[in-house]
Each structure stands twice: as structure tokens, then as C-alpha cells.
Amino acid sequence: MYRSQALAIKYFSAAMILFGVMTLFGLVSAYYYLNPDFLFGILPFNIAKIIHINTLVIWLLMGFMGSIYWFLPGELGRETAGIWAAEALFYVFCTAVAVVAVVFIFVQYGGSNEAALWFINQGRKYVEAPRWAALGIVVIMVVFAYNVIGTAVAARQTTGIITVLMIDLIPLILLYLIAFPAISNMSADLFWWWWLVHLWVEATWEVLIGCIMALALMQLLGTSRRIVETWLYIEVALVLGTGILGLGHHYFWIGTPSYWLTIGGFFSALEPLPLLGMVVHAVYDAGAQHMKTTNRPALYWMMAEAFGNFIGAGVWGFMITLPQVNLYAHGTQWTVSHGHFAFWGAYSCGVISVLYLVLQKTRNLAFVDGSLWKWSFAALNLGLVGMTGALLVSGFVQAFVERAMGGSTLNAFISGQENAWFVDGMVARFLLAIVFTAGYFVLVWDVVTLGRRAPAVAAVSPAQ
């Protein structure tokens, strides 16, 4: 095994732990809606929410990095360049995440000064990490980019997938720099902040997961390189074509020119088209293989990725993307519902799929199956779909009662929050979050014990 692949296993382990932290703080955040006095004076809602969202970003990022460190040496036929730096930075990364989490939980707030910005909270939603940690993330991503590009240079060759990956890493790093400048004009600040959030999620991350899924497909189904590379190019063209200017669908209520709403609505309305192509592709691949594979959980999670991406990003997104609806739905639980489903479908399922591929290799299993992964697959997906359904109902109430009828006044906000449908939606969301959490623990149990608890799993041949 290459050192890069050993590092990948560490990244996947850290990602799984952070996935758990994210789930736990999501559960806590959901409970605040039922009992606003919960942890009063100890842990405010906004801190729990910050940790929930930041760990989401970090566990997925670690999952992506683990996937690349896993596939890269095999792809280019040599050890990853500068692997010693990557190994050292892994521990720095984990320590920094732990320190930031401790500061968020125990310090929580600082004054309106530079010290608070550097050591407590940088203040931008979703990228709240204090400046020292944000700088650390930049260093880690630069070294990650060096690992990929340096390996291609040292190997004196590149492949289509690695070329796309190398190009993608540049905007991935550059866009994160938007987290740093302190812009005093709030409209200008939010204008650029959305570049970071949107173009990471709906452009650079989409390309990154596309590269990872292309590499995983070759390993899982033996799909030819020509096919995955052809589709990767098509996907990149379509995703970037629709995704970049779809940025405008966020520009509500922040003082940006109104033409952005039309541009954003138009391009993001086109986003379901490539996603439908991806779903047809998934059905084709599954049918061509007759759903036969040596790694069933990896295949099912990959299928869940294609379908979840279409439904979460495509269907849920299309509901709110046209400006006439977005005007009222923006920032309600309706968009929260879309965000949960889209992140799950587009990214989380893909990372879990690669995790099972890695486990098959590291545990030397001829065939991966069993019952535990099915329970975790069912609980996680049912929990997630249920949560998004419940959030959707609550979001409808907010858009209807609070925004469209009440005109977004404080009284209208209170009416919306007290509406029976909103409250029931929040109760249902919490209960289904418990199902999701149970699914997470079964997943961890399966991952930890796979190949150890049932020798039969390793012995069964793929033909059976």
C-alpha cells in the first residue's frame, strides 16, 4: 500500500468522526425548535448551528481529500509527491478542527475587534472558523494541490480525470480566499461571500466529486476510462454552464441589482437537465452490470448519489429557483430542506460509496455485502428524506404565512413559528433526525467491523 493510501484511511476515519459530530449537532439544533430553552445560557442555537454546518463542510472536504489520496497513486503509478507534508498537515488539520470546535463551544463570542476575528470567529456564515484556522485551511489546500499537481509532474504524465482535477483545485483555493477580506459594505460583502459558498458547492465541489466518482466507477464496475472521461467532460461542461451563473439565485434581499435574479433563475432552472442525464447514466450502468458487483454497498451508495443529486438538487431546487417563488421561499426552512437533500445526494452518498471501496481493498475482501449496510442505508436515507419532507412542510408555512401573507414583519415571523403545521413539521424533523442518527451509528458499526465479524462475507464469491 502506498503511503498516500494509508493517509487516505486516516482522512476517512477523521471524516467519519466529523460526520458523527455534524449529526449530533444537527440533532441538537433540531431540538432547539421544540424546546427553545434547551441548554439556555450554556450553548446557544447559533453556535450549535455553526458547528453543524462547519463540520458538514469539513467532513466532506476530508472525504474528498481521502478519496483523492486513495486513487492518485494508482492513477499515476507512483507515490504522491510531497506525501510527508500531507501526512504532517493531516494532524495539524485535525488539531485545528478540534481547537476551533472547543473555542466555539466554550468561548463562543468575542468583542468587536481584531483579536476576536483572529482567534474566535471570523464572522462569515458557513466559514466562521477564526482567521488563524482559515489560513491553515488555505495552507492545507495548497499542499493538497501540490500533492496532485506535483505527482503528475513527477510521473511525467497525466490522465483526463487528473487534468480536470488539477484545473478544479485552482478555483477551489482561490474562492476560499473570499473568506478573508473585511468588507464594510454589507451588500458588497454578501455579493462576494456567495461566490465562495455557491461556487464551491455548485461548481468546484461538483467537479471534484465528478472526478472522484469517475475514478470510483472504474474500480467498482470496471467501466472503461474512455467512458468515464467522456462523461466527466460532458458533466463538467453542463454543470459549469448552468452552475456558475446560477449564482444569481442567491441574490435576494441583499441589495444586488435585480437583473441577477433573472440570470440566476434562468441558469439554475437548467440545472436539472445534466442531473437527469446522470440518472439515465446510472440506470444504464446498473442495468449493464445487472446490479452485480463485488461491493454492493458501494454500488447502492453510488446509485443513491445519482438519484439523490437529481431529487435533492434538481427537484427540490427547481421548486424554489424561479424568482417569483424564491422571493418568498428564500431563507426559509424550504431552502433548508433543499440544502439538506442536495448535500446528501450530491456529496455524502458519494463519499460513503468510496469509503466502502477503500474498505474492500484494505480488508482484502473478495465480496462486500451483509445486512448491516442495508440497515444503515435504509435508516440514513429514510431519515434524510423524512427530514427534508418535514422541513418542506415547515418551509411552506414560513413562505405562506410569514412571507407572502404577513410581509416578513416580526409579527408575521412569530405567527409563522407558532403555526401548527410549522411546529408539527419541526417535531417530525426531530424524530426523523433520530432515525438518521441511528443510521449513522449502524454505518459506523458496519465500517468498523466489516470483514471481521463475518468471515463468510469475505469468502463468498461475486458469482453467488
Binding site: T158, G265, L276, G287, Y328, A329
Partner: protein, 114 residues
């Protein structure tokens, strides 16, 4: 747009996209299974999709430009699964013939020398 129309339009748009996905999946399944039931269900799904598109065009207060986008997207949704399928078959056939020439499926196809 009235409060109720906001909800109705949002739901119709979601249903519109969902039915396009169902159409795509059923159409793809019909190709594999060679089962006429899947084919009929696919047509039914696209029929419902068209019905929802018509409802959006005739009933919701969206502007004319957005309604044109809905109609145009419906036509693209109709063509997308067969187009994707043909492209998939063509790339798989080409890859298959490459494989016959004893190229390894996993060997890196070097696209550039650094």
C-alpha cells in the same frame, strides 16, 4: 403573486421536475427490460409531466419568459433520455472494441506528457 399562488407554483415546479426524472428512469428501464409496461409507464409519466407543464403555463402567474422556459425544458426533457442513451451505447461500443484490441480497461490513457 398571491400567497397561495406562491405555494401552488412552487409545488407544481417541483412536480414538473420530479415527473421528468420518473420519465427518464422508466424510459431507461424500458430499454433494458424490453418490457412494454415500462414503456407505457414512461409515456404516462411524460404525459403527466406535460399536463403539469400546461398547468404551469395556463394557471400560474409566472411571466411569459419563464413559461417559455418551462415549455422549452419539457421538450429537452423529452429528448434527453434517448439522446443520453444513444451516447452511452456509442461510448460503450467504442470502449468495447478498444477492449477487444486488448487494451486494459484500467490502464491510464495518458492525455498529456508533462
Amino acid at each position: 403573486m398571491s400567497a397561495l399562488a406562491t405555494l401552488e407554483t412552487g409545488l407544481l415546479l417541483g412536480l414538473y421536475a420530479l415527473l421528468s426524472g420518473i420519465w427518464g428512469v422508466l424510459w431507461a428501464l424500458a430499454q433494458f427490460r424490453q418490457n412494454p409496461i415500462f414503456g407505457r409507464l414512461a409515456v404516462a409519466a411524460y404525459g403527466l409531466h406535460t399536463l403539469v407543464a400546461l398547468t404551469i403555463v395556463l394557471w400560474t402567474p409566472l411571466g411569459i419568459g419563464w413559461k417559455c422556459l418551462i415549455v422549452g425544458s419539457s421538450l429537452v426533457f423529452l429528448a434527453l433520455p434517448p439522446m443520453t442513451w444513444r451516447l452511452l451505447e456509442s461510448t460503450h461500443q467504442n470502449a468495447g472494441s478498444e477492449h477487444d484490441r486488448e487494451f486494459s480497461q484500467h490502464s491510464p490513457r495518458v492525455v498529456a506528457r508533462v
